[in-house]
Symmetry: C2
Amino acid sequence: MSGPGRPGRPARPARTGRRPGVSDTRERILAGARAGFGEAGFDGTTIRGIAARAGVDPALVHHYFGTKQQLFVAAMELPVDLDTAVPALLAGPPRELGYRIVRFVLELWGAPQTQPLMLGVVRSAASDPVAAGLLRRTLAEGPFAAIAKTIDRPDAELRATLVGSQLVGLAMARYIVGAEPLASAPDEVVARAVGPTIQRYLAGELADEERGIHA
Amino acid sequence: MSGPGRPGRPARPARTGRRPGVSDTRERILAGARAGFGEAGFDGTTIRGIAARAGVDPALVHHYFGTKQQLFVAAMELPVDLDTAVPALLAGPPRELGYRIVRFVLELWGAPQTQPLMLGVVRSAASDPVAAGLLRRTLAEGPFAAIAKTIDRPDAELRATLVGSQLVGLAMARYIVGAEPLASAPDEVVARAVGPTIQRYLAGELADEERGIHA
């Protein structure tokens, strides 16, 4: 578990002149990890760089979180309680479910405490297998799967991953690549444009005999 | 333009026992670059690694292509003639345009000569600004924009980037992250599921008063 830190360096805080508590130190490391992974992705981020952001010794990062991969998984956990978020999304008019899901996701992308984390997941998933696994499980078994299963339609798993494909792509185009005018369109415009896509993936016809009935 | 190669090293092929022609060498470097960028993205790929794949001296890579960023742009150019591809997509029943676009893109993703290149663009765009710029211009000014402009609807640019968001996300979910069952669904199933999304983004109502009319 010592990772790339110098061998023999003891697991203690850097001499910063104060002795932060354990939970404070853990939070500072997690915040540094979210900022680092969010800016540069998994491959472009080092334990040493995260330790510097947090103002602690790299060995302390390893001490609390183990490997860089373990730290990534801990840092990328969304501060969203799915036990309340999913029922809240399902409440309201069923035909606006797709719209509500897009609004919800856009709020997470827009909020300063969740955006770096989501940037970190998507950026890292593009090149790192561990991050890709995290995103894969989120798409296949996460909130979209939970929502798809509540709707009485076949192919819930395929529906959930189709929803995920549109929302990950929206994040790529809007927040990471910055394709205009999508990147600077108001949330409401995006939610009205993309909401019906999510709605159809969850509740509509997937195998369309006419190949374009929704034109 | 000398980049990270050793200073003073002359721009000549490695001593491989044969003297390949210029166009052969260029092609081998481009193939090595596509393979490297496709596997590891822009950040995870070095000129040295590409040179090793191509069996040439790193200085030769710099000699022919300049910086790593210039090589990336050269290597990621799709071998698709848009002057014929766009009219071919527009031919056929207008209401199946979205379906045809998805089939076309899935064929590019499935073909061995284009998949590494497209993997390279999407993987690299997630973390590298140059690659993100390439993908940004492709989404905003590339084939989707050309197609959107042929359709007599307002907001052609927004429509083009919405199309791009779904197709980039499909690539992320299906080919990079591998979210099942989407990842192993037959092309025809995916094209029928996603085609109507593309169709609506190009030709449908984007600002839906009812927020879910396509449910």
